[in-house]
């Protein structure tokens, strides 16, 4: 077995970072701590062109560690909401967001569970998801890969556009609809199947394909050359992640803080 000190959270941060690997000089927005750490890792390692914010309304020269910290990071620009809208409508952004549900079309939901008029659970509201989804590339993060999150049929309330022509005006693909990757606690997927079907790219070390299929509410395409194993973050990446999260907040984000490589005893379960 591969020897590593990496936790699953570390591996997920590294895989989140990958979504921005080849992006040009635009805004990298990671919502929730693991995607945000991913954006910071990408900027500090392979893609220094990326712009990032402090999570509020300032652009930062270098990523700020998450949690309590000494001193303010160097600000390199202003990003109030009005300007963030203008920027994202112009397409110069790639967001990695954490919706509550996603369906086979890549449509996501953060608004309600159940009926929209009388929901079983009211969540946030659509926020900026509709505009984001048709304006710039988007990727997704799910810390718990199961059928409640990766749903059969359509999500309960379609907050972001996906590859579902039935919802497109005049059957025309929305302007800049471009869904990139889905990172979950079990695997990495993309939209490279037939007609942009969601496709399994790699399984995290020790995760069997059946477990992914059992926990996904729709059929998955698979990478033609074979589904690989998600690579582990190297020592340099782990050191940067530790520096970006000095209080180890990430240890509390995935239940039980498991290792990146699932032990064989768990594999049998």
């Amino acid at each position: 077995m591969t020897q590593t000190t990496a936790t699953l959270a570390d591996l997920l941060v590294a895989q989140c970072a990958e979504v921005w690997r080849d992006d040009p000089e635009w805004l990298a927005t990671g919502i929730t701590p693991i995607p945000r750490l991913g954006a910071s890792l990408a900027k500090l390692t392979f893609n220094p062109r990326l712009m990032i914010t402090d999570g509020e309304n300032m652009l930062l020269e270098q990523p700020a560690p998450i949690g309590p910290r000494d001193g303010g990071p160097v600000v390199e620009g202003w990003a109030p909401y009005a300007r963030t809208f203008d920027n994202l409508w112009g397409g110069r952004r790639h967001a990695l967001v954490a919706p509550v549900q996603i369906d086979r079309f890549g449509q996501t939901n953060i608004s309600v569970i159940g009926d929209h008029a009388r929901p079983k659970a009211a969540l946030l509201g659509a926020r900026g998801f509709p505009g984001n989804s048709i304006s710039h590339p988007n990727s997704f993060f799910f810390p718990q890969h199961n059928r409640r999150a990766l749903v059969e049929g359509e999500v309960d309330f379609v907050c972001s556009a996906g590859y579902n022509p039935a919802r497109w005006l005049d059957g025309r693909k929305p302007h800049r609809l471009d869904l990139r990757r889905i990172v979950t606690n079990l695997c990495v997927m993309d939209f490279g199947g037939p007609d942009h079907a969601i496709r399994l790219v790699s399984l995290h070390p020790g995760v069997p394909m059946e477990e992914v299929r059992d926990n996904t509410g729709f059929d998955l395409a698979v990478l033609e050359q074979g589904v690989g194993e998600t690579p582990l973050p190297d020592a340099a990446a782990l050191a940067i992640i530790a520096r970006l999260d000095p209080h180890n907040i990430r240890a509390g984000l995935i239940k039980g803080n498991p290792a990146a490589v699932r032990p064989a005893s768990v594999r049998a379960m």
């Binding site: 909401y81 449509q107 608004s111 009211a122 659509a126 998801f129 556009a161 929305p174």
Partner: protein, 289 residues
């Protein structure tokens, strides 16, 4: 001599049952909470609220003031789901849900006196199914079908600012002005609460020119309300009171009655004492994101 100063309750007296009210700020930042509490104490009912929502929406919902909500989200940021909004929504509150940028666009259309502004935002989503939305075909060669985002016209906008003079010149000193300016331009009338009402010379213009929110001709009334955004922030004057927001969020069911008696039924002086006083609020550290 223009003097638009008025007490908080005089602003509430300008409102009427069934009105459509835009509330400025964003989630947990620069919400006119003193005014929201005054509305919650009043006999007003059946309000339609337009907001980038936070505890303003939750409090008015919990106090039975809302008939409808026009929104893109309601959140307490550090506490992602606003529990009082959640309860109202699950009980069937009438909502018009849209994208953050669509709300911006609807206010901008109203601010410009246009019936609508075209947008792609909403295309491909359930937001586009709302019967209040129509589409429009581009008259140019592209022929693209777009959503015609209708003007959103509040009867009244309620905003919280850092500084005002008696004539209604207002400054918002926080790092993000949000969409308060558009709310003022879109609304029939705008009332503001201000941390301090000062002589015009003390507004610090022209140095503070970029903080001058909107022309004074749009401002109908100004009430002085120190810490009037609490428990939301009015940075740089003071920060979000997370401890209070946690108590507010935890106050469900019978606990809500206790919260309401202690913090909503109280006048602003008693409120300030109940939340720890001016020095305690000024000492709250900035949140880390």
């Amino acid at each position: 001599m223009l003097d638009k100063r008025m007490p908080l309750d005089a602003i509430v007296a300008e409102l009427a049952d069934g009105m459509t009210i835009a509330i400025g700020g964003w989630a947990t930042r620069r919400k006119p909470m003193a005014l929201v509490r005054a509305i919650a104490r009043s006999g007003l009912k059946d309000l339609t609220v337009i907001a980038y929502g936070g505890p303003d929406v939750g409090m008015l919902a919990a106090c039975g003031k809302l008939r409808r909500l026009v929104f893109a989200f309601v959140s307490l940021d550090h506490i992602p789901i606003e529990p009082h909004f959640k309860a109202a929504r699950q009980a069937g509150l009438d909502v018009w849900e849209m994208d953050e940028g669509m709300l911006h666009w609807g206010l901008r259309a109203a601010a410009m006196g246009l019936p609508f502004l075209p947008t792609r935002v909403g295309i491909g989503t359930a937001i586009a199914e709302d019967p209040r939305l129509r589409t429009v075909k581009s008259p140019y060669d592209d022929g693209e079908t777009l959503i015609a985002m209708p003007a959103i016209k509040p009867d009244v906008a309620l905003l919280h600012v850092h500084r005002a003079d008696e004539k209604g010149n207002v400054l918002t000193l926080s790092p993000d002005p949000f969409f308060d300016e558009l709310m003022a331009r879109a609304a029939g009338r705008t009332f503001v609460t201000a941390e301090q009402i000062v002589p015009t010379a003390d507004l610090g213009l022209p140095g503070n020119a970029r903080y001058h929110l909107v022309e004074r001709s749009l401002i109908s009334g100004v009430a002085q309300a120190p810490f009037g955004a609490h428990p939301t922030s009015a940075a740089p004057d003071y920060q979000i009171d997370l401890a209070h927001l946690k108590a507010y969020a935890a106050a469900e069911g019978e606990a809500w009655d206790a919260y309401r008696q202690r913090y909503v039924a109280a006048d602003e002086g008693a409120y300030l004492a109940a939340v720890g006083g001016a020095d305690a609020i000024r000492a709250i550290p900035a949140p880390v994101y």
